[in-house]
């Protein structure tokens, strides 16, 4: 089944409240997916020329400070790691590709959950209330965020198989549904240099959109292209550095509801997820049409 939520703030004054609001939305969707939960938050950007990499290590006592020290020494840069649960956000003034190569070479046990200037990604096994608590979601500020509660149907229940999937820089995706042509798509995308960490179908969709955007497509154009190439059923919510978009498959197998006020745009699998938001009772509410891209961006 799965539950997905998205929140895009139009009013800057609400940024300190983003994480708290997303946590409430996510918990409301707990009945739709108790296996694992996760979220991506677009927060204050890393300094110019620096990158943020969210990393996961299964040992909650992992020595993140020592990792940052070794990383800085190895690459001759400045680096700092901020622990959150069994994840940490490593901020370093270094090229993203070099950073990932160093991590892969020296700490192959680490998983990269997301990377970019603004995005931070946290996900783990367990229900949404526990996962939100574990990572301190309610205290996170930011401009927009996506969340997912998973009822696994397609691949294993692990932290790595949880959503959101962040395959390209700043891009992340949450998915309700399943894809049937993900194996062939994965092979094709791998030939174009897209790297996948799991055998999960939704990760392929994230990689597909990342690849489209690397080729110059806008987020909305990438999703339009997906209508032809992604076979299966889906409601997707996708975040980029400055944007947020929603797409349902052509027969609208999976539910979705959108609501917009002057202050925010919210997406949920059900109205329950949006109802607790301040201002929800005055929002414009509609069900997104099948095969139609809905996108918002910040200039």
């Amino acid at each position: 089944m799965c539950g997905i939520v998205g929140l895009f703030l139009k009013n800057e004054a609400l940024r300190p409240l983003l994480g708290g609001w997303l946590a409430r939305m996510l918990v409301e969707m707990g009945d739709r997916g108790p296996d694992s939960a996760g979220f991506a938050v677009y927060r204050r950007p890393a300094p110019e020329g620096a990158v943020k990499i969210t990393l996961f290590h299964p040992d909650p006592a992992f020595a993140w400070a020592a990792l940052a020290e070794g990383f800085a020494a190895g690459l001759g840069c400045r680096a700092a790691a901020e622990r959150r649960g069994n994840h940490a956000v490593l901020t370093a003034d270094v090229d993203e590709a070099a950073a990932r190569a160093w991590i892969a070479a020296h700490h192959p046990e680490l998983r990269v959950m997301g990377f970019g200037q603004r995005i931070e990604v946290f996900k783990d096994m367990g229900g949404p209330a526990a996962v939100a608590e574990r990572f301190g979601l309610a205290g996170m500020d930011g401009t927009h965020a996506l969340g997912h509660t998973r009822m696994a149907t397609e691949s294993a229940v692990t932290t790595e198989h949880s959503h959101p999937f962040a395959v390209g820089a700043e891009l992340c995706l949450v998915h309700n549904g399943s894809l049937s042509n993900h194996n062939s798509l994965r092979r094709n995308l791998a030939r174009h240099g897209i790297r996948f960490d799991t055998d999960n179908d939704s990760e392929v969709a994230a990689g597909y959109f990342a690849h489209q955007m690397q080729q110059g497509a806008s987020l909305a154009e990438a999703m339009e292209a997906g209508l032809a190439d992604l076979d299966g059923f889906y409601t997707f919510a996708v975040g980029t550095r400055d944007g947020f978009a929603v797409l349902r498959d052509p027969i609208a197998c999976k539910p979705a509801i959108l609501a917009e006020t002057d202050d925010w745009v919210a997406m949920g699998s059900e109205w329950k997820a949006i109802a607790p938001l301040p201002g929800a009772e005055r929002a414009t509410v509609w069900e997104p049409k099948p095969a139609t891209v809905y996108a918002w961006g910040r200039a």
């Binding site: 539910p255 109205w271 109802a275 509410v285 069900e287």
Partner: protein
């Protein structure tokens, strides 16, 4: 008037109270506040009570309704009034997918739009939609009437049996074995009656009728590609 606040009362408790009303109950007027998209509100009512829900509801609201008159003053989630037997369910906003699915009797009024599969497998219910309906509405509908004041999405009436569909606006496309049929005086009278009962505006003269071409009733090898 009895008011139930769902911020303070469990859905199960509300439904239990309504299910256990005696047949001759005097508690006939109910108001439900703070529904917040919760599921299965008022499912299985079987007494002639009038219940108004103030706000948006989740899945399967007023499912299996008998005799009760339910008003949802907001939007409704998937499967509102599914399997309705009698009584009336009115949605003042929009309804999600599969509104009035498998309904066997009574009247369902959606004042706004209904999305995909409105009236799927309807078996005698009357449905009046003030706005438009999504794709595959009245899929495998068996009997009953679907009146759409706006437009209809793709594959309207696919694999239809004997239900009648009336659409005032544009139809994006007809499903397998669904055809446009002549509007008779009886059809126009039926539409006028249903619009009046729904309290919705509409000009019966502008509606077109769609029904089953009955080509799928029996297996015919020439139609194999349509099965």
């Amino acid at each position: 008037m009895i008011t139930v606040d769902l911020d303070a009362t469990e859905v199960r408790e509300l439904n239990h109270r309504l299910h256990h009303l005696p047949a001759d109950t005097n508690e006939r007027l109910w108001r439900v506040v703070n529904p917040r998209g919760k599921h299965a509100l008022l499912a299985g009512l079987d007494r002639p009570v009038a219940v108004t829900i103030e706000g948006h509801v989740g899945y399967y609201c007023a499912g299996m309704n008998q005799e009760a008159e339910v008003i949802i003053d907001g939007h409704a989630g998937v499967g509102v009034a599914e399997n309705i037997m009698s009584g009336t369910v009115r949605v003042r906003g929009n309804a999600s997918q599969a509104a009035a699915a498998s309904g066997q009797g009574g009247l369902v009024v959606i004042e706004g739009d209904a999305s995909a599969r409105c009236g799927i497998s309807m078996k005698g219910v009357d449905i009046v939609v003030g706005g438009s309906v999504g794709h595959m509405s009245a899929f495998m509908a068996q009997t009953g009437r679907l009146v759409v004041c706006g437009d209809a999405g793709a594959d309207l009436g696919d694999s239809l049996y004997e239900a009648a569909i009336y659409v005032q606006g544009a139809v994006a496309g007809l499903g397998a074995d669904c055809e446009e049929q002549p509007m008779t005086d009886a059809d126009r009278a039926a539409v006028a009656d249903l619009l009046a009962r729904a309290g919705l505006p509409g000009d019966p003269a502008r509606f077109r009728r769609y029904g089953s071409a009955r080509r799928l009733y029996h297996f015919h090898v020439d139609h194999a590609d349509q099965y």
